[in-house]
């Protein structure tokens, strides 16, 4: 009798569990069948929306699943996911999010563990110093570097170190620009200058006034040459000003520049390199909320985004750095030899304190 009650209780528990939480099905064929029944996936993605809508058409044709891409902003999409945490069924099936946002989120509380649900394959869950612990996988790789106008800049003397950059500024005042808001290319630049010139430990996210004070050599460097460089309004503005021949060099993202060039929005002659002092690499991840309305379709779509074939396509069509080892990266703007200069973003809270300090001590002195 006792065993029977235990068996019934166990069965009920399993039924209840499967009724309230998604997952548990490791049979990919069943996931595919369910996904086709759902027939739709809501992808909350914040950039290149129109171009990606074209890019995903082969997926829609192959699987018979419609992908609806929203037009929301990055932070707004994340805020929505946070706000919807308490709902039994949300609106988001697949959420794109920058890896830098992951440490601020309750990943186990919000998202399903993708390693439990997706077929085994090479996935990247640790990117740019952030470990998403399989709650998100990187689907879009990007690398910051210096975009430059080869008509104006001597390619044999591209500045590699803070000293050489200062020489470039002295020789060409007002021809180098960077942003400190509206995009991470400028922040990647000043973070690396502060790292190289100062003695603060960038591998740890720990922050203290003593550690911040170690950034002083870099802060002095920016203040010393304040009238030699300009501040742009954002990532896009930096590239636009190079294309417009107003400035000759600026930090930029590889995928951003490649995308603008492919769409004919900036000059194709603009080139890019990573200086040997290092520039940050980063990427965007994909995560599936626990309350996704079409969870099976979301899994199938995420699996497709992360595949070697799709990653090759991202490199070919958008210049994104592939995140699958079997993907082809021959369309990249940056040579493979320079990828060794890739640096990780400083972790929070140090990264936030560093940015605050830079704005306070450099930008507010301008």
């Amino acid at each position: 009798m006792y065993r029977k009650i235990l068996a019934v209780f166990s069965l009920l528990s399993v039924m209840l569990y499967s009724g309230f939480t998604f997952g548990g099905s490791h049979n990919w064929d069943e996931v595919l069948a369910e996904a086709k029944k759902e027939g739709k996936v809501n992808w909350f993605q914040w950039y290149l929306v129109d171009a990606l809508a074209e890019f995903i058409k082969p997926f829609e044709e192959e699987y018979g699943i419609d992908v609806v891409i929203t037009q929301g902003k990055h932070t707004v999409n994340i805020d929505k996911a946070v706000a919807e945490m308490g709902r039994s069924k949300g609106d988001i099936d697949v959420l794109s999010l920058g890896f830098d946002k992951i440490p601020d989120l309750n990943m186990p509380g919000m998202f399903i563990k993708l390693s439990d649900e997706l077929p085994k394959d090479s996935r990247t869950t640790n990117l740019a110093g952030v470990d998403a612990k399989d709650y998100a996988y990187a689907w879009w790789g990007n690398q910051s570097g210096f975009a430059y106008d080869p008509e104006k800049v001597d390619e044999s003397k591209l500045p590699q170190t803070p000293e050489e950059i200062a020489q470039f500024w002295e020789a060409n005042p007002g021809k180098f620009g960077f942003n400190y808001e509206n995009g991470g290319s400028g922040p990647s630049f000043f973070q690396n200058i502060l790292r190289v010139m100062g003695s603060a430990d960038f591998t740890s996210g720990e922050s203290s006034p003593e550690k911040i004070s170690k950034l002083k050599p870099g802060i002095d460097y920016f203040n010393k040459y304040a009238d030699k460089y300009i501040i742009t309004a954002g990532n896009a503005d930096s590239i636009q000003r190079i294309s417009d021949k107003e400035i000759w060099m600026a930090p930029a993202w590889e995928d951003h520049l490649a995308g603008l060039q492919k769409r004919g929005e900036v000059r194709k002659e603009i080139k890019m390199y990573i200086p040997s002092m290092g520039m940050n690499g980063g990427g965007n991840g994909v995560a599936i909320p626990k309350n996704a309305p079409n969870p099976h379709a979301a899994l199938v779509f995420a699996n497709w985004l992360l595949s070697a074939e799709t990653q090759t396509g991202f490199n070919r069509d958008f210049g994104a750095a592939p995140l699958h080892p079997e993907a082809d990266d021959s369309s990249a703007l940056i040579s493979n030899s320079q990828r060794a200069y890739r640096q990780n973003w400083a972790s929070n809270p140090f990264s936030k304190d560093l940015t605050d300090h830079f704005i306070e001590e450099v930008m507010m002195n301008r």
């Binding site: 309750n106 942003n179 400190y180 742009t232 021949k245 107003e246 936030k352 306070e360 301008r366």
Partner: protein, 288 residues
């Protein structure tokens, strides 16, 4: 019976005024308490002054307050100052005045973001203005005007956008002044400036205050013009609020939001008293 009448009035006001009061009250309530560490979106609520302390210890906060005040004050004064002569000109209908009036109000239909992007196209390094001046030989090479340090671009955009609004408010008020009053002032020897200062401005002071206050609050909280055409070494208060919010620092963002509300509130009171003082001086109590 009296109580019943009061209840009736309250019941009639509730659907409109009650909703406004409720939603406004909720926003104020959440923003104020969030700035003190409550309504924490990513952790435990904890009443604290640390977020205000952090704001008060930062140069960027004071610079944002100063900058937003600068844009708010200058934009509202210039908009209203320019709207007065135009409204006086359009006071009496004349052939073509309706078309002129409509054209002057056109900026109200153009969204601020669109206007800001168009303006940037004009003043960009290789924009139309630089090209024209180089073509006519006034300049040898392009001048960098985009995102100027003194926010002249933002002020131009603010005035362009708000002047029609000020005109809309002032025109009706100026048109309601009878010819008899103006003629009487003229007969008593008042010149154009005296008529404006002693007759027209005092009689339209309510509209002037409304225009000044509304434009001041809008320009103080500007985001779109500032983020596209504004100086890159300054944050407007709205921009600063978004900077904190985008970094997940909701409490500091709420602190900046509360600052905007306080400055708007105090600014409205100040404008109201200042305009009365300017035009009525010591007779301010008589005006009341």
């Amino acid at each position: 019976m009296k109580a019943l009448n009061y209840l009736k009035i309250i019941a009639l006001l509730l659907p409109g005024f009650g909703l406004i009061l409720f939603f406004l009250g909720m926003i104020l309530y959440v923003a104020i308490f969030q700035s003190f560490g409550l309504f924490n979106l990513s952790g435990e609520d904890n009443f604290t002054l640390q977020y205000w302390e952090k704001l008060f210890n930062r140069k960027v906060f004071y610079r944002s307050v100063n900058y937003s005040l600068y844009v708010g004050v200058i934009s509202s004064i210039i908009s209203v100052a320019l709207a007065y002569p135009i409204a006086l000109w359009l006071r009496k209908p004349f052939y073509g005045s309706i078309i002129i009036n409509s054209i002057l109000k056109a900026p109200l239909l153009v969204h601020g973001l669109v206007a800001a992007f168009l303006f940037v196209n004009l003043v960009a390094y290789h924009g139309i203005i630089n090209q024209i001046f180089i073509f006519i030989g006034l300049w040898d090479e392009p001048i960098r005007m985009q995102n100027d340090k003194n926010a002249i671009g933002v002020l131009i955009l603010q005035v362009w956008k708000n002047l029609p609004f000020a005109l809309l408010i002032l025109l009706g008020s100026i048109q309601s002044i009878g010819d008899d009053v103006i003629d009487a002032a003229r007969d008593l020897g008042a010149n154009s400036f005296a008529r404006l200062k002693k007759i027209i401005a005092p009689l339209t002071i309510s509209s002037m205050q409304a225009a000044l206050i509304i434009i001041f609050i809008g320009a103080l909280a500007d985001f779109s013009f500032q983020s596209i055409a504004g100086p890159t070494n300054k944050y407007s208060l709205s921009q600063l609020m978004l900077y904190y919010k985008n970094n997940g620092r909701w409490h500091e963002a709420a602190g900046v939001g509360v600052t905007i509300m306080i400055i708007s509130f105090l600014g409205a009171i100040f404008i109201s008293y200042l305009t009365k003082f300017i035009f009525f001086g010591r007779k301010i109590n008589e005006f009341k």
